[in-house]
């Protein structure tokens, strides 16, 4: 031991301290990495849950839309709103009465009524 020079001793001390420092830092780095992995995994899981929630809500919306668009529901919306035509109404649908007592509206391409057009021109804005 006595033969070991002070310089050699310093080197050994330095090496030992470096090894301890590296070991401690590596340990902290491993812990830090584990934390990062956990955090990333948790974030992924949260995103996964959020995505599943969104998809679930979209499907719920789809179901609601499908329910609301049932023919029975749509027709129900008009129940009581439709009324017989009146003499002073502006828009008329041409009808054809048949012997069976049924009336059919004549199919025609949509066009603005001439009366309605004149009415628009005359109106003040």
């Amino acid at each position: 031991m006595d033969s070991m020079s002070s310089q050699s001793r310093k080197r050994i001390y330095f090496l030992v301290i470096s090894m301890i420092a590296i070991t401690v830092m590596s340990a902290f780095a491993v812990v830090w990495m584990q934390q990062q992995i956990s955090r990333t995994a948790q974030n992924s899981k949260q995103n996964e849950v959020k995505l599943a929630d969104t998809v679930r809500k979209l499907r719920f919306l789809d179901e609601r839309i499908a329910t609301m668009h049932q023919p029975v529901v749509l027709q129900g919306k008009f129940a009581g709103v439709l009324r017989p035509s009146m003499d002073d109404q502006i828009v008329w649908v041409n009808e054809r009465n048949v012997a069976t007592g049924r009336s059919y509206a004549l199919s025609a391409p949509y066009e603005t009524s001439m009366n309605l057009a004149l009415l628009d021109v005359a109106s003040l804005r």
Binding site: A41, R56, G76, R96
Partner: protein, 602 residues
């Protein structure tokens, strides 16, 4: 330097005690790490690791226009952990009761009951960690419960099958029961494609049973079920079901079946039955008896009666043994057939003579019997079989029956005169429909097409079903001749005047069958049917209406009960599908969907 006195006896005793303690510790360590290692490791792994099954979502069923008919939604079972419930939240139980629609006292009981007796030992008491408050609640209710923020109250999600259209096409769709088992209809027939494949996830959990996502080891995503597109059109189905409801209210029958299809492809646009049920409430047998779940169009048989007369008429024409204008003596009640004197069936109106054309138009039983005798047993049987009687139509719905077409060797002496008028045979409404479709489809028998395709979540086809022609039954010329005759059935002199539609040439055949009650044909109980198509010269739709035992003053004839229903459905379909008349002899007046009488009746 003085030394403390230590008794050697005491020192030995302490040393032995310490050594003994170490021995026990080593022994315990040996027991834990070597002796019981496997079991303990397994125990730890079981506590820490978990394999979570990720449920696959069952596929959707949509109509031909993509409208949802059956889908899978996320439902929630709402419950409370009484241990986690805080007393300061008790005031919010009133709101929770309103949201869930449950009595307040039930909720208070659930949150207050914190323990229960164990099942193993009577004295053992266990903490309650979950007490159910409501089952199968929807997303909106679950959100409302969460918004209340009551500690310990939460919901567990699960998949639940739902039918947004309610009763619409119930018999076609079928349903999935509470055990996730498909019971009937498309749900059962295409279960293999609809159900999907569950996934799984191997992961770890902490002491509070929360998943530690960073320890996920293996993960297999679930493969959701495929979707099915039907040939059913939701609107046509609605039109038909609305008519079924009207018929049921008017005639209070035992049952009704209506089928609408395209003759050229066999694509079924609607199948409706009465009584019906709501697949969302299949379990409610008080409201919807089990009997109402039967798809009568495929499972119930009846004697087709006069609708069957198209078979001997078309067969005789196809064999070239008669011409539409050939005349038969239909005044005599007895004829000689192969050395035997046979009693012919009676007609409502006795005609001395009728042409083949008039036999069909006037629906003469005797005339049909003459045609049958001209054909002979074998040919009559073979043509009936060729028209699809006595065999399943191949509709993708399960539960279908074949009906009865007896072999010739089993016929009795009168069968040759009774079969041509639709007796001594039983058929389902679908079989009658398919037989009429043969005439509408230029003599070719098509297999009913109920499913258009199976597709994945991206909308890509997995399987596409094409129209399937089974066989040619009669020639095109004969089919045309039959169409003309059947068009006259709906004419002024025919039996189905009430099936006539303005602007359109309609062809069809009525049927009025006496039901067998106590072994005899009843004069009071009938099956009224009408099967027809339009436009007669270029058929777009075939519609069959069968009403079982309409309660009617007098006889419930097919012409007076079923034919008007046919007309109503046909008119609505013309407006909805934009079917154009091919008649050239009248000024064409297109019918618009804006039928005021129909709108106002809503």
């Amino acid at each position: 330097m003085s030394k403390a006195f230590v008794s050697s006896y005491r020192a030995s005793l302490v040393s032995c005690a310490v050594a003994f303690a170490f021995c026990i510790l080593l022994g315990r360590l040996f027991y834990l790490h070597v002796w019981e290692q496997e079991q303990l490791l397994e125990h730890v792994a079981n506590n820490r690791k978990m394999v979570k099954v990720v449920e696959a979502r069952r596929g959707n069923i949509v109509d031909s226009r993509g409208n949802l008919l059956a889908t899978t939604r996320t439902a929630y079972d709402i419950g409370v952990d009484p241990q986690a419930f805080r007393e300061e939240d008790r005031g919010q139980l009133i709101e929770l009761a309103e949201v869930l629609g449950k009595p307040l006292k039930d909720l208070e009981y659930s949150v207050s009951t914190k323990t229960r007796k164990g099942t193993g030992h009577a004295k053992e008491v266990r903490l309650i960690r979950w007490s159910a408050l409501a089952k199968d609640v929807d997303e909106a209710t679950h959100d409302a419960v969460n918004a209340l923020g009551i500690s310990g109250v939460y919901g567990n999600s699960k998949y639940s099958r739902t039918y947004p259209a309610g009763k619409l096409a119930a018999h076609v769709l079928g349903f999935v029961n509470k055990e996730e088992t498909p019971v009937t209809g498309i749900e059962r027939f295409f279960d293999y494609y609809l159900r999907g494949q569950d996934g799984w996830r191997e992961t770890e959990r902490d002491g509070k049973r929360r998943e530690l996502a960073q320890f996920r080891e293996r993960e297999v995503d679930p493969s959701d079920g495929l979707n099915i597109e039907l040939s059913i059109d939701q609107m046509v189905q609605h039109i038909v079901e609305a008519e079924v409801t009207k018929l049921a209210e008017k005639y209070n029958p035992n049952g009704i079946s209506i089928v609408v299809s395209e003759p050229s492809t066999g694509a079924v646009l609607a199948i409706a039955n009465y009584p019906t049920y709501d697949p969302n409430e299949f379990y409610n047998t008080k409201k919807y008896p089990i009997d109402s779940q039967r798809n009568r169009a495929l499972t119930d048989v009846f004697e087709p009666g006069s609708t069957f007369k198209i078979v001997p008429a078309a067969a005789a024409l196809n064999e070239g043994i008669v011409h539409p204008e050939d005349v038969f003596q239909t005044g005599a009640s007895r004829v000689s057939y192969r050395g035997r004197s046979l009693l012919l069936p009676g007609d409502h109106h006795v005609y001395d003579q009728l042409s083949v054309h008039d036999i069909v138009v006037k629906s003469s039983n005797r005339g049909a019997a003459h045609l049958g005798m001209m054909l002979g047993e074998v040919r009559l049987h073979d043509y009936a079989a060729a028209f699809g009687f006595g065999e399943k139509t191949g509709c993708d719905l399960g539960g279908e029956v074949s009906g009865t077409l007896h072999k010739v060797k089993n016929w009795d002496g009168l069968t040759i005169t009774r079969l041509p008028m639709g007796h001594a045979i039983s058929a389902t409404p679908m079989q009658v429909h398919v037989a009429m479709s043969v005439i509408a489809n230029d003599g070719v028998l098509m297999e009913p097409l109920l499913t258009k395709r199976i597709f994945d979540s991206n909308g890509e086809d997995v399987i596409r079903f094409s129209p399937k022609a089974k066989r040619r039954v009669v020639s095109i010329e004969v089919a045309d001749q039959m169409s003309e005759m059947l068009a006259d059935v709906v004419g002024e002199n025919g039996t189905a005047r009430k099936a006539a539609i303005d602007n359109f040439m309609v062809a069809g055949k009525t049927g009025t069958t006496q039901k067998i009650v106590d072994g005899r044909y009843s004069n009071k109980h009938h099956v009224a049917s009408f099967s027809g198509f339009f436009p007669a010269d270029n058929p777009a739709l075939v519609i069959t209406v069968v009403v079982d035992d309409p309660k009617f003053e007098g006889t419930g004839y097919g012409g007076s009960v079923s034919a008007p229903a046919f007309r109503n459905i046909a008119e609505a379909c013309i407006a909805y599908l934009g079917i154009r008349s091919s008649r050239t002899d009248i000024a064409y007046q297109p019918i618009s969907i804006y039928d005021r009488t129909r709108r106002l009746s809503n």
